[in-house]
């Protein structure tokens, strides 16, 4: 481990660091073990009946039932279908927003900016409720519409930042060879901005996937509702914990694989776009686009110079 912050450790420091490391591992492992044992211990419930521990087979035997897995699978499909449809619309809305915000006419630019600020400042959940109650669309489309609009606004800001960070010469060259302003934007600026912002956009899509769980609250039967509400209601509350752990594992598997994909893209497209455009001198996101839940995850997309 080389870092500018401390000297290359000598034999003594290395030994000490190894000792602390081992102690740290033991500490973490100890706490985990204690948690596992504590959850595994049978415990009496309020009415005097003794509940078997979490690792008892009777708390897990529902998972031999094919029907459980079929329901969970349907939940996953419902989640994915909401996320997929919302992602497509979010991309379209994002492109429209980015064009509106970087339009030449004030009459387009200013209203777009106001709408963007409005949308970004509201909770997605409130938007879902609004669409559900006002337009009576049903839970699925309320979820899709709210997610698409909210994430579209954020993707739009990312794209606008991408367009803005391009050298002026790109636009000037496009106009100079006789392209119309719109054609310049579509054929010269937009492709570059999109490629540069791809990691942020994918990170935002991870957020979108995560946020489909909000549709649980407006009553859509996606993975969360099926897994932690419907199934435990049906099979009994003693399975609540087991179902929770399984649902957590499914969510982690979906989101982590998408996050890793985002990071892979970031690594692959990082140096290439660096040639096209001077990279930012700092690693912090410079633009206001970070006022989202998602764009923090781009912190990892950074680059060299980590301590």
């Amino acid at each position: 481990m080389s870092s500018v912050l401390y000297d290359a450790p000598g034999p003594k420091a290395r030994a000490r660091s190894r000792v602390i490391s081992v102690v740290g591992i033991l500490l973490v492992a100890g706490v985990l073990l204690w948690l596992i044992l504590a959850m595994g211990a049978p415990k009496p419930s309020a009415n005097g009946a003794v509940q078997p521990g979490l690792w008892d087979p009777t708390r897990w035997d529902v998972f031999t039932d094919v029907q459980v897995w079929r329901s969970l699978g349907q939940g996953v499909l419902a989640t994915l279908s909401m996320a997929g449809v919302a992602a497509v619309f979010a991309l379209i809305i994002g492109v429209l927003f980015s064009f509106g915000r970087s339009a030449d006419h004030k009459a387009i630019r200013i209203p777009t900016t106001i709408i963007l600020e409005f949308v970004r400042g509201l909770p997605v959940l409130l938007m879902m409720l609004f669409i559900l109650l006002v337009f009576a669309t049903g839970a699925y489309w309320a979820g899709v519409a709210a997610l698409a609009i909210y994430n579209g606004a954020i993707i739009g800001e990312a794209l606008r930042a991408g367009i803005q960070s391009l050298p002026r010469g790109q636009r000037e060259a496009g106009l100079a060879i006789g392209l119309t302003p719109l054609a310049t934007r579509f054929r010269i600026e937009f492709p570059q901005a999109f490629r540069q912002m791809l990691p942020i956009i994918i990170a935002q899509l991870v957020v979108l996937l995560k946020d489909t769980s909000l549709a649980f609250i407006v009553g859509y039967s996606e993975l969360l509702r099926v897994g932690v509400k419907n199934l435990p209601d049906f099979f009994g509350n003693r399975y609540a914990f087991s179902f929770f752990l399984v649902v957590l594992a499914i969510y982690l598997a979906m989101n982590l694989s998408l996050s890793w994909f985002a990071r892979f893209i970031a690594r692959r497209s990082g140096p290439k776009s660096g040639k096209l455009v001077e990279p930012e001198p700092t690693l912090t996101p410079k633009d206001t686009l970070s006022s989202t839940r998602g764009s923090y995850s781009t912190g990892d997309a950074g680059g060299p110079g980590t301590f």
Partner: protein
Amino acid sequence: MDAVIENLPVFLEGFKNTLGLLIFSGIGALILGVFVAALRISPVASFRGFATVYTEIVRNTPLTLVLFFCAFLLPYLQFSPPFFVLALIGLTVYTSPFVAEALRSGINGVPVGQAEAARSVGLTFGQSLSYVIMPQAVRMVIPPLINVFIALTKNTSVAGAFFVFELFGAGRQVTNDRGDEVIAILLAVAFFYLVITITLGQIAARVEKKVAVLR
């Protein structure tokens, strides 16, 4: 419109609770986040590993699931403070890795040359962190940190679905009573959220501008 005016005390009660959630879980997340960030840059490998795993897991878990755990499964484990406290725990845990990441990216944003210069004049790890890197990093960290708190403001709405009476819960209750004025009621709720988020956003923008001049 009169549905909004009649129920103004309800909205204000919700607004108060939203602010409470924001402030308390914000402070909690800040403390936990500083701790996680410190673990993530520490020289001890096992601490770094632990912090990385924690960050990855919490960041990829939906907030709804975290709050569900707090509201339903913690009481089931015979730990049952009021729902407000349970929601605070959930929001704190969920926000802490985002705080940690904002801090870490701020520290990484300080040019390496600064650290090299500090080290080459003979400052130790602790000294170069506290005299050279942190004063610069703190400035760069404030805008992304405010953005984390804006996100937290919006996230408090999820607590409204888990028995905490905050703005979203207030809006839901009032729309149940007055189904005829849904639009006005929800716009009123939106207004209260925007009061917090836009103010914070303006502060972030101003600080960002100031920092940009300083650099």
